[in-house]
Symmetry: C2
Subunit: 331 residues, 2 copies
Amino acid sequence: MKRFINQPNDVVDEMLEGFLLTHGSMVRRLEGARAVVRASREPGRVAVVTGGGSGHEPAFLGYVGEGMLDAVVIGDIFTSPPATAVLATIDAIDSGEGVLLLLGNYSGDLMNFGMAAEWARQKGHLVEMAVATDDVGTGLGTSQSERRGVVGEFLVWKICGAVVAEGASLDDAKALADEVNARTRSLGVALRPCTVPMLGRPTFDLADDELEWGVGHHGERGAKTIKLKPVDDVVDGLTEEILADLPLEPGDELATVVNGLGATPLCELFIAQRRLMRNLERLGLHVRRSFVGNVFTALDMAGLSVTLLHLNEELQARLEAPALTPFFIQG
Amino acid sequence: MKRFINQPNDVVDEMLEGFLLTHGSMVRRLEGARAVVRASREPGRVAVVTGGGSGHEPAFLGYVGEGMLDAVVIGDIFTSPPATAVLATIDAIDSGEGVLLLLGNYSGDLMNFGMAAEWARQKGHLVEMAVATDDVGTGLGTSQSERRGVVGEFLVWKICGAVVAEGASLDDAKALADEVNARTRSLGVALRPCTVPMLGRPTFDLADDELEWGVGHHGERGAKTIKLKPVDDVVDGLTEEILADLPLEPGDELATVVNGLGATPLCELFIAQRRLMRNLERLGLHVRRSFVGNVFTALDMAGLSVTLLHLNEELQARLEAPALTPFFIQG
């Protein structure tokens, strides 16, 4: 394993320290927890909090800031943070208007964030939870509620961050998160798996002429292994499979993400983006905002994913509202 | 070669098209050239233009925008753009106050940008050129004027973008670019080389327990090959070698960049950043602004570089001035 690390055990704490030394004007660390909160925020607003395992950088830390996330709680690599850390974060960030917890659909996160929400309610906090389930790669025939949450979460963070900045209530923000999730689908592929530092070996094997279809964010195998093909053909397949699950009509409006999974050059993501935009245009769909970059990664996986969000006027306005965080991609 | 591309020949044009389809509200393409200019800019200001070979994304395109670059001209992968394209860009962007061309110290760029500057002057444009030479990895004992320009260019773009936004003259902006360059040093290392799509094979060989020291941005071998070691030791060596060439005293103020070369997870860059910040603090140096991320890459090279800029009050203010471009990292 060739990596720029010290001890595999220290990766998360050293990464977090480096992040805080870089972005200390925007965030501060919460004592006693692997969590960061915004250095300053307007009181009288619902707080938007997310988190999950590490190894997805710039998610989650890189999206804390004005108009997006108020706090983030992280765990070990690909491992949910403990409920106590989530509770400490809720205690620190809630100014009385309540806290919206946004998470992906993973059993560890559901359990730990759920437990923290319960404890926090007992202490008098208003807490709601919204769970992202945008990954159509989780398996054919699964209902949306059984699916993983992947890059769609990024769009939920952005839109909820914008609406609470305008003063939305906790219930309204929670309803909006669920609405965004219901209108969002993602699908990812990989050329190479990732290597979790504590394990020291790739999470699966893939031949030089193979591509893994339907991968998630944790180095899991995908739904199937196929032969390598030109990226235009890959994007055509992704578009088709996503649209089979997200019924759209000519004239509908979309937001899109072409996401790099960690080791994919930006140059290649823009080549994929070109084909995606052409495919959607040919179908009469109008893309109002798109993001291309390493938004939500899986360590050093060489892969990419495509996310589509079926916009309406309200969602588009929230997506276009200003956000100033270390790694938010400006449009 | 496993890559998300179509034909190797089409990589640059397809990437450029994808970029324009994503950031069309910020930039527009210049007809007849591989160049982009800001969609709108205040008249009555000196224009700041850069460019060079492709394969360095998000450099150069990702830094066109408010407070930074006014235009960018790109060539094929790792290949200078033609002088005619640079001239067309100068023609398009100059509102009469002149154009500052910022480039790295490569013979192709010097020749093509130099020729374009000459032609542009004959047509009545005011044009100045400033050449970045920040790479101490180019070879021991070389004078600064013989060195490659690498990530230091990013700091020059930011500072010159800020000063022309304030209305600086062409001569003042050019002097400032030279001053920033004289106060900046970079050094890079790699765990894996890159693969140029047209060649289809890695640019050099490196064993599983080896690290290449002193690499540039074009897949060149570095100054030497050493045994792999923990990232803290790597960063200690980089710090030491840079500081041997950039005399600083306790109390001096710095800006820093820890840059990923394309396939390095952000998580690892923050681990390197942590060590760098500790090293500089121990020496009594004060870091006022630091950047960590994929700022200036070399396709899919797994590597990182460290850049130090010796600040003064004026440079710090310019660095902290707002910039809104697709990939500028907010602090």
